[in-house]
């Protein structure tokens, strides 16, 4: 695959092998939550496990990330995956999405850190914004980004959305003159 061969090192090239091979726990969010919902301890344990899994995905691309950027992302993930920010019925982080997010950061190499969120399906959300403009990515499993952008007002307003493989996202942002959102 282009992404793996052209951008990422061979050892983290895209693979179809199951995520379970990298993680000592199930990635079946629904099953995990049906268990986790039973008591607070289990929810916190599952949150910790998902955080550890996301950290592992970031570690896999560490060579492409500035240490400060990685540290700030890790802080945000810790906040996002804390019981303090957890509501009953929430879907746990999908680790296949965390992998897509980590690989997207390796490809895009932003120097501005995004705000992070979680979709209803448990996919990682990332938002970059500045005055009057924002870009929001939902990182779907398989290195796909569901993106939406907004900039300008009135006659110069530009809003768009779509889905694209990671390697096309930078071009989409350039097409909307929004590459500065990620790189300051």
């Amino acid at each position: 695959m282009l992404l793996g061969s052209a951008v990422l090192a061979p050892d983290i090239a895209y693979s179809d092998e199951p995520l379970q091979a990298h993680a000592p726990f199930s990635d079946d969010s629904t099953a995990a939550f049906s268990i986790a919902n039973d008591n607070v301890f289990t929810i916190e344990l599952e949150l910790q496990r998902r955080f550890a899994g996301a950290q592992r995905e970031l570690a896999n691309v560490a060579m492409y990330l500035a240490p400060d950027f990685r540290a700030r992302i890790t802080k945000q993930l810790r906040v996002l995956l804390s019981a303090e920010n957890w509501e009953e019925g929430d879907e746990h982080l999908n680790l296949a999405s965390a992998r897509s997010f980590a690989r997207a950061m390796a490809v895009l190499r932003p120097n501005q850190r995004p705000l992070l969120g979680l979709s209803n399906a448990g996919n990682l959300l990332a938002m970059w914004k500045e005055e009057g403009a924002q870009a929001v990515f939902e990182h779907l499993p398989g290195d796909i980004v569901k993106w939406s952008i907004s900039s300008g007002t009135g006659a110069s307003e530009d809003r768009a959305s779509g889905r694209a493989p990671i390697e096309r996202v930078a071009g989409i942002l350039r097409g909307h003159s929004l590459e500065s959102l990620l790189n300051g």
Binding site: L80, E84, N85, W86, E88, L115, G117, N120, Q134, G162
Partner: protein, 167 residues
């Protein structure tokens, strides 16, 4: 209030926003403006879950005359209607106008209906029916243009709460 009646265009509704949909700073605090109101909502906050067929909202005018009266009561109704009976202080309530929801939907090619759907614990509960799936630009409009006023639940429940004048 009667189930199935349309909510008046000039009225307002609130949607509970989970913490996972609010932008946060590195230290875990919610990204707020100078008035302490959340600045950033992910558009996904306005997506339906797989098990939903309408967007759940609560009618504010049902609870009183001013936002300072309405929102704490609406938030309490939403809290009491949840299975856990608990909302996180870092969750928020976003406020929008009924007519603007309908207009935003029309602008994106959808014709939604905003109707009363009272529940035992939340008599102001309403639904946006015919709500679209996979409509990212519409969700973006809901987050950026319609539900622009947002208040942290942890603030709303403080005695004597009222919205900042600028809001």
């Amino acid at each position: 209030m009667a189930k199935g009646d349309a909510v008046p265009e000039e009225h307002h509704v609130t949607r509970w926003i989970k913490p996972r949909f609010l932008g946060k700073n590195d230290d875990g605090t919610v990204d707020v403006d100078e008035f302490g109101c959340p600045q950033t909502i992910f558009p996904s906050a306005f997506e339906l879950r797989d098990d939903e067929d309408a967007l759940s909202i609560t009618w504010l005018e049902h609870f009183g005359a001013t936002l300072a009266d309405q929102l704490p009561l609406a938030a309490e109704a939403v809290r009491s209607a949840t299975a856990s009976g608990d909302l996180k202080p870092k969750s928020a309530f976003a406020v929008g106008n009924v007519g603007q929801i309908r207009t935003a939907a029309q602008d994106h090619g959808f014709k939604v209906r905003i109707i009363e759907d009272p529940e035992d614990n939340n008599t102001g509960h309403c639904e946006v029916r015919r709500y679209p799936r996979d409509a990212d630009e519409f969700y973006q409009a809901m987050a950026l243009d319609v539900f622009r006023r947002r208040y942290l639940y942890g603030d709303i429940v403080k005695p004597g709460w009222g919205p900042a004048l600028a809001h």
